[in-house]
């Protein structure tokens, strides 16, 4: 819809001046107070002798692209929207649609979740652009997931601030006083720049804040007028230098005390959750565990520790926690839940798992930043030594402190402990193999069979599991050899369903340039939130193999309803109502094919699974996304 060109022209001049010199603006403004009657009606049409300026060579959005490029973004994930049309046009034309490249997403939730997955492979954020109103409303659940998962996503929201220049109709519905308010409870920082210098400074600041642990999403609200107004070639605009903050390292005294407790301990246990931020994190954790010959319980918030390492005891946390005299937590989301058991019966109850006198140490950047409204911070953990710092950044100092304190006697004790742990690990591995055999030939296909068949096809390739390692009964985590930092990417953070499909595509996007085989075990209900991300993968040639864990239900919810029905003595006959995803069964292979993917299935006979996966991988290795629909056991 057209708006007054005169007003528009004046408004653009106003902003051009604002960008160049606020003082000059004040001097040149012709301000009319409300109390003054105008001497004549304001002009609404250009005078006959004026030539209306209708085009320009440079706009505010061009400069914004300069700033965005300076921050090193590779991709913009976005569903197009008029409130950032100026910026989008500048990205694809002025910016050449390279670094960043605009990726077409079918839902803003997909845009953000793609960014979450991408970051956990690449270690840097994507840029998400969305309407400040309807786009952000779509995006908000995914933002919450990223916030809980301590993942930075850089979000730019379009908005039209000046009510007198909004296009009538839709632009009013797409405008808001305080766009970021909706997600302020679960973002780390936001700003609404009112000039281009303000934009550039805040844009750089936002990036720095997002990337400083604890990392979280940030929001920049960008006014349409600031995007679309001409910028004088003489305007003095600059981009501030970005210097990322070094991650906070633990206090030296506290680190020394942690080392003393660990070296003196007879049964120390290391619990790692979102500990390894980078490839170095896993290396440090392996070094610390091997120095101490201490078992590691990997809660899999990140790829922390090799799954087949003799000190990986993630599948027997209860026994280890109960026997520990010192527990070191590294970025543990729920430390209380780690050392307590909780019973979900009619009367909820909990019980401390640790023995009296067990010392608890926690190194977490979570203690450096907290918000009150959303309760993802979990129950208060009564630890003995709390180190408010980034765990990965603190590990080198802790390792050195442990080395200094380890004498020959302790080294012998550590070796003895290590030998016992290695034997226990081997026994546990044999038990897992034995358990995986039960239901091997079942139909629907067992999740153990699914994981084993998939592993058989990828184990000799450079693979990356871009879905949650703990889903599908955690069989991948138990059966596969996770060794490299990109072998899995942790979980959703906030348990907001609809995360897996888009985040796995985002992670696959990051893996693409390294030539890795991205594989995902895709839950059916999760895919149905926003399946359009499959089209995004096909359209942008993002190779990924999605193997469906299709149990035809929102299965966790089935179990919750079943729990309630039993508690109320009513039987579970109606537990499928509202939880089953059948009648009709969804044909996920056809869904995938309709969006340009290679699709196969539904696979119900376990003998057909291996060959189907092989064909899917062949498609992926041609550069296509592929989906194999597998009808599975519930868990």
């Amino acid at each position: 819809m057209a708006k007054s060109q005169k007003i528009s022209s004046d408004r653009r001049n106003f902003l051009k001046l604002a960008a160049g010199s606020a003082a000059a603006l004040v001097a040149k403004s012709n301000v009319l107070s409300a109390q003054q009657a105008p001497s004549s009606p304001p002009a609404t049409e250009p005078a006959a002798h004026e030539v209306e300026m209708l085009t320009t060579d440079r706009t505010g959005s061009d400069f914004m692209v300069d700033v965005i490029k300076s921050l090193g973004f590779e991709y913009i994930c976005s569903n197009p929207g008029s409130s950032f049309r100026g910026l989008q046009e500048s990205v694809v034309n002025y910016g050449g649609n390279r670094a960043p490249e605009f990726l077409t997403c079918c839902h803003e939730e997909s845009s953000v979740a793609m960014g979450q997955g991408y970051f956990k492979i690449e270690g840097k954020p994507v840029l998400v652009m969305a309407h400040g109103t309807v786009g952000l409303q779509h995006a908000s659940m995914a933002i919450y997931n990223a916030y809980c998962d301590r993942v930075p996503v850089y979000i730019i929201l379009g908005n039209t601030i000046d009510a007198t220049t909004r296009r009538p109709g839709v632009e009013w519905a797409h405008s808001v006083q305080d766009a970021a308010a909706m997600v302020r409870d679960y973002t780390k920082w936001d700003d609404l720049p009112i000039s281009l210098p303000h934009f550039s400074e805040s844009a750089v600041r936002a990036y720095k804040i997002a990337m400083t642990p604890p990392m979280m999403p940030v929001v920049m609200v960008v006014d349409t007028d600031l995007q679309e107004s001409p910028v004088s070639q003489s305007a003095k605009l600059r981009i501030p230098k970005l210097t990322l903050a070094s991650p906070p390292q633990g206090d030296s005294g506290a680190v020394a005390e942690a080392a003393r407790l660990l070296v003196a301990a007879e049964n120390p246990v290391i619990v790692a959750d979102r500990a390894a931020r980078t490839a170095a994190g896993m290396k440090y954790l392996v070094e610390l565990a091997e120095l101490l010959q201490a078992p590691v319980v990997d809660q899999a918030g990140r790829m922390n520790f090799p799954s087949r390492h003799p000190l990986n005891h993630s599948d027997r946390p209860g026994r280890l926690i109960a026997g520990a005299d010192v527990i070191l937590g590294l970025e543990v989301w729920d430390f209380w839940g780690t050392v307590n058991s909780f019973r979900d019966q009619l009367h909820r109850s909990s019980r401390l798992l640790t023995r009296p006198g067990t010392k608890l140490i926690h190194i977490t950047a979570g203690d450096l930043y907290a918000k009150s409204n959303y309760q993802d911070f979990q129950r208060y953990a009564e630890v003995d030594l709390s180190i408010a710092a980034d765990a990965e950044a603190t590990l080198p100092a802790l390792i050195e402190a442990v080395k200094r304190l380890t004498n020959a006697d302790r080294k012998r004790a550590f070796q003895d402990r290590g030998a016992k742990l290695a034997a226990a690990r081997q026994e546990a591995r044999e038990r897992v193999r034995a358990e995986a055999a039960y239901g091997w030939d079942a139909s629907p296909i067992s999740t153990a069979r699914l994981a084993a068949e998939l592993w058989e096809q990828i184990k000799n390739k450079d693979w990356s599991l871009v879905s949650e390692a703990r889903s599908a009964n955690g069989w991948a985590q138990r059966l596969w050899a996770f060794e490299k930092p990109y072998h899995h990417i942790g979980g959703s953070g906030g348990a907001g369903v609809g995360y897996i499909a888009p985040s796995s595509v985002g992670a696959a996007l990051a893996n693409r340039k390294y030539g890795r085989l991205s594989v995902s075990i895709q839950n059916d209900g999760d895919l149905m939130y926003a399946p359009g991300v499959l089209w995004t993968a096909a359209h942008h040639r993002i190779p990924i193999l999605s193997v469906m864990h299709n149990n035809r239900s929102y299965h966790q919810e089935v179990m919750h309803i079943q729990r309630m029905a039993n508690r109320h003595n009513r039987g579970i006959a109606n537990s499928h109502i509202g939880t089953a995803i059948d009648n009709p069964n969804i044909d996920y292979a056809k869904l995938a094919q309709s969006m340009g993917l290679y699709g196969e299935g539904p696979i119900t006979d376990p003998k057909d699974l291996g060959p189907a996966i092989r064909r899917g991988i062949a498609a992926v290795e041609r550069g296509e996304p592929a989906l194999i629909d597998v009808v599975t056991q519930p868990r």
Partner: protein, 134 residues
Amino acid sequence: MNRFVRHRSVRIAAAGLMIAVALIVARLGAEAQTPGATPGAQTAPAGNTQNGKRIFASYGCFQCHGREAQGGIAGPRLGPNPVPFVAFSRYIRQPAGQMPPYTSKVVTDTELADIYAFLQSLPQPPKDIPLLNN
């Protein structure tokens, strides 16, 4: 799809593990006493295997334990070679862990016996699966 509430699942898993350990220990003990026989068979009431299989599905046992009772994160493996019937029955009526209680109003004693018969009838898993040696 699983609405995966991670922390609660961890707790459920931990509790499930403890249950599993208890059941496995019980099973191993029983196996040691009666090698080659189905533990608890002597004390279990006679049950209808086919009805037990049907009930195992319709009463939702499979939701946590799998359709073949193979077990998983939410519930341990139940068969073949189930724990003795007395322990089995006691746990279902008055579970010490996370499992929802099934009172006799929901599952009758006869139906319990049928489910137990189904668990006893389950085949042993195949041996030497090459894919599990990777």
